[in-house]
Symmetry: C2
Subunit: 149 residues, 2 copies
DNA sequence: CTACAATAGTTGTATATACAACTATTGTAG
DNA sequence: CTACAATAGTTGTATATACAACTATTGTAG
């Protein structure tokens, strides 16, 4: 079913306007899929994003601003997301001794274990994306990158 | 600049995973553009979406559930969005006399006037989307529609 | 007719985004 | 050295999403 049926809008003034709405609508669809996927592990898509970033630098710590600039959503509030993760024991946070303005964040073993579990379950999720071919996925990436420039 | 540089992630396990992140990232970028575009008119992107839906049926009223099922984000809370718009005088809402469970919502003249103003400013916004060709926009729409099925 | 299912919307709570004002610490021009 | 700019992060508030429990009204099986 195409976008027009999904949101019951017949006409878009241009293909560009339709593309913008389509990207937003598809992102909402993906976000919901992710929310379900991560829920059994007690984390949100945004918290998953932070954990994945921290795994990328593990065992090196990142400061909060490093996390923010790597996030999918730049204006999300890393302070509060990290605090949620800390309460669950998935990250450590401590003031950097060399520069007490900074806060060093590292992922814990428990955090890494959750990511490993999610990796092992990702086949099913990837299957839902395979309505398109690998070539189409590549073309999608190319067009989206070009759009933002 | 491609996705990898924007979020400083070097490798994705598949083109599919990268495409998923790319759609989410591009949607966040578009949402921010829209927020700026609508801000001078005192509405949010979500409120704009509701107004556009109501213009689509104008002068016929819609009930809340009609609005919800046409929205880009299906789980957003139409009750509260409509209440915000009513406080600004952009929509009317009254209990349906035939079925007092329903609430009939219509866009006001003031609401229509805001949409007209936004339409008149949309050239500039469309220009930011024209990094891709019309053919690429069409291909993007085709791939996104296919992805969701 | 009555009990109950279905429909339509509301409200409460946890989470997250958007933005601005704020504190604390560090760097540096003079 | 001192004043102030720059850096790093925190906190408050308005908005919106996600989900469940709730009220009110209407439809219908028996």
């Amino acid at each position: 079913m195409g976008l027009e049926e999904d949101i019951q809008q017949k006409r878009f003034s241009t293909e560009y306007e339709k593309a913008a709405v389509n990207v937003l609508y598809t992102a909402s669809w993906l976000h919901n899929l992710n929310a379900v996927r991560f829920k059994k592990h007690g984390i949100t898509p945004e918290q998953f994003n932070v954990l994945r970033i921290l795994r990328g630098s593990f065992p090196k710590a990142l400061m909060l601003s490093d996390i923010t600039c790597r996030m999918v959503d730049k204006s999300s509030n890393a302070t509060r997301l990290v605090e949620k993760l800390r309460q669950k024991g998935l990250v450590n946070r401590e003031t950097c001794p060399n520069n007490r303005r900074q806060v060093d964040i590292t992922i814990t073993e428990k955090g890494l274990a959750i990511l490993t579990k999610i990796d092992n379950e990702s086949e099913e999720w990837l299957a839902t994306l395979k309505g398109i071919t690998a070539a189409e996925a590549k073309e999608l990436n190319r067009i989206l990158d070009k759009l933002r420039n």
